[in-house]
């Protein structure tokens, strides 16, 4: 539980941390789409260098970012195997019973591995450098136009911020209840699958009871202060774009254009080909 790192805010007060959260949110959104458009190894290399420079600027240690992949390691491994086995195009390199491994399959599964890794690391950079409050504010600001078609944006934002706010609280609560039950001799780590699920009950029931109690108390506290989510509210911290934000936008556009060049005009693939032929020649 203490090694929980995916998505935990990592305070360093770097340039990246100080960016407007809207900028970071937009960048992450564009980045996630773009990563799916990359076609060549050059494209991946380029994106990886970009991500690395963001990580470097953010002063979040590399090992912390790498750790965020650990949560999805199983998924990465699984997709790698599935792609290797079932993507059959190009020259066959290995054949045994029903297993066909082709050049195309290797190529595709490695690219998929890069894609998912970049995706997870990029997404976790957003939460490493942005607090949940900033994130909700940004989301609310960006979704504001939807209020014209009667979408309750502020309500949604407040729901999201409450949900995010209570993740650590509930984690702490879980830890406490686990300790209390362990002290009563509960055995949580051994036994068959069903035994373990049964052993979770003494933790889950008190956890639900306390979650509902907290929800009730919070609702009462909001009512007691006459909170009304639909009225117009002002913000204590107003979001404001600065010079670095504008520069980041330019960077984002350049990045997107370069990757599109790679995807639609095969620029990266051409360089890939050159490099491969050099390797083959040597």
């Amino acid at each position: 539980m203490n090694n929980f790192s995916f998505g935990q805010y990592y305070p360093t007060n770097s340039l990246v941390h100080r960016l407007d959260p809207r900028t970071k949110l937009i960048f992450t959104f564009v980045y996630m789409i773009i990563v799916f458009l990359i076609k060549s190894y050059m494209g991946y290399l380029f994106t990886a260098v970009l991500l690395a420079s963001i990580i470097f600027t953010s002063k979040v240690p590399f090992r912390v970012v790498i750790r965020s992949i650990r949560a999805v390691l199983f998924l990465l491994f699984f997709t790698l195997i599935i792609n290797l086995l079932f993507y059959n195009e190009g020259k066959t390199v290995f054949e045994w019973n029903f297993i066909h491994i082709t050049m195309g399959g290797i190529d595709y599964s490695i690219k998929m591995l890069f894609r998912l890794t970049l995706l997870v690391m990029g997404a976790s950079m957003l939460t490493f450098t942005t607090t949940s409050t900033e994130l909700t504010d940004a989301l609310e600001a960006l979704l504001k136009p939807l209020t014209y078609i009667k979408v309750p944006v502020h309500d949604l934002a407040i729901i999201m911020s409450i949900a995010l706010r209570f993740i650590p609280t509930l984690m702490e609560e879980t830890q406490k209840i686990m300790n209390a039950q362990k002290a009563r001799g509960a055995n949580l780590d051994t036994g068959s699958f069903f035994e373990r699920i049964k052993a979770m009950l003494p933790i889950l029931i008190p956890l639900f009871v306390s979650a509902f109690r907290r929800a009730d108390e919070l609702a009462d506290a909001l009512d007691a202060r006459c909170y009304n989510a639909t009225d117009k509210r002002t913000k204590m911290k107003k979001l404001k774009f600065g010079l670095t934000d504008y520069l980041s936008f330019v960077g984002t556009i350049v990045f997107a254009v370069l990757v599109c060049l790679d995807a639609y005009m095969a620029g990266g693939a051409y360089i890939d080909g050159l490099i491969f032929s050099v390797i083959m020649g040597a």
């Binding site: 912390v64 406490k176 300790n179 362990k182 009563r184 001799g185």
Partner: protein, 318 residues
């Protein structure tokens, strides 16, 4: 000696920006029969410390010996945690939040069942524990714990721990969030438990007036270390230092200090309200040549305050 702690150190989230050193070299020996009070403000490391005592936190640095079980940072040999937890019972803050079963009986039986006892033994222990905390076994055993009152829930939760018959019972803020009469009931329950169930008791409390009423030894945690470890009556010789640490001193001592500053001669050894009353009556008798009986006044004063609590216990220590 039931528990010996040597050079215990502990750091939370090491090598990250959230790194905190909770314990920096703690040495403590807890004897059988101790009624130990632990005080210290939030973040002084007392909660981290007590969680080490029944293996909820693995030792990072240092050594703990609980009866014959050794806890160190070595991976092998693995300590027998089940045995450890049957020796050292832990009542957490707000223990009623750990209740989960459909009936009071089943909830109290959870601990003994985990110890692997026979059904007969479990039955006996559950009955004994529920009655020990002052609830009627026949009346409450089939009730759902969630429909009880706050104080009753807490007593059921404590019954769940003492049904394991721990030799050492640790309670973290046992009276937090209760009303005055609920507090009194829990305090007299703890005294009762010391006699009938667990001979060694460790209590963490923020309320210094409360803790001085039963502890015979006080340990003060400050900044991850044991700052003081004294018999209860001796600790407040360090009252200056305690105040500097941001800790409260008993109200009786504050009043005695004020009176002494005004030139009223009072004896030494004033820690509790009952001590203060005694000294004031003695001083009054001496000055006016009267012969007022201390115990009579005391009885009427304290019985007026807390009508349904077991005050006799408090006065025994004289």
């Amino acid at each position: 000696m039931s528990i010996v702690v040597k050079n215990l150190q502990f750091t939370y989230s090491a090598n990250s920006p959230y790194e905190t050193r909770a314990l920096k070299d703690v040495n403590l020996t807890i004897n059988e029969g101790d009624f130990l009070g632990i005080v210290g403000h939030t973040g002084s490391g007392k909660s981290t410390f007590i969680q080490h005592l029944n293996g909820l936190i693995r030792v990072q640095e240092g050594e703990i010996e609980v009866f014959d079980i050794k806890l160190t940072n070595a991976k092998k040999p693995k300590p027998d945690l089940r045995k450890l937890r049957s020796h050292v019972g832990m009542v957490f803050q707000y223990p009623e939040y750990q209740l989960f079963e459909e009936t009071v009986y089943k909830d109290v039986a959870f601990g003994p069942k985990n110890l692997g006892l026979s059904q007969e033994e479990i039955n006996d222990r559950v009955k004994e524990a529920i009655e020990l905390v002052g609830l009627d076994y026949e009346k409450y055993k089939d009730r759902a714990p969630f429909e009880l009152s706050g104080g009753q829930k807490r007593r059921v939760a404590i019954a769940g721990i003492i049904a394991m018959k721990p030799k050492v019972l640790i309670l973290d803020e046992p009276t937090a969030g209760l009303d005055p009469s609920g507090k009194e009931q829990i305090l007299s329950l703890i005294k009762n438990l010391k006699e009938k169930c667990s001979p060694t008791i460790i209590v963490i409390s923020h309320d210094i007036d409360e803790i001085t009423r039963f502890a015979n030894r006080l340990v003060v945690f400050n900044d991850g270390k044991v700052a003081f470890d004294e018999p209860m009556k001796e600790l407040f010789k360090h009252q200056q230092e305690l105040v500097e640490m941001g800790l409260d001193i008993p109200l009786a001592i504050k009043i005695a200090n004020e009176l002494k500053a005004k030139g009223i001669k009072l004896g030494e050894n004033i820690v509790t309200m009952s001590d203060l009353l005694r000294e004031i009556v003695i001083a009054y008798n001496k000055k006016n040549g009267t012969n007022i009986d201390v115990s009579k006044i005391r009885k009427s004063v304290f019985n007026f305050d807390f009508s349904n609590s077991n005050q006799e216990e408090v006065f025994k220590d004289e």
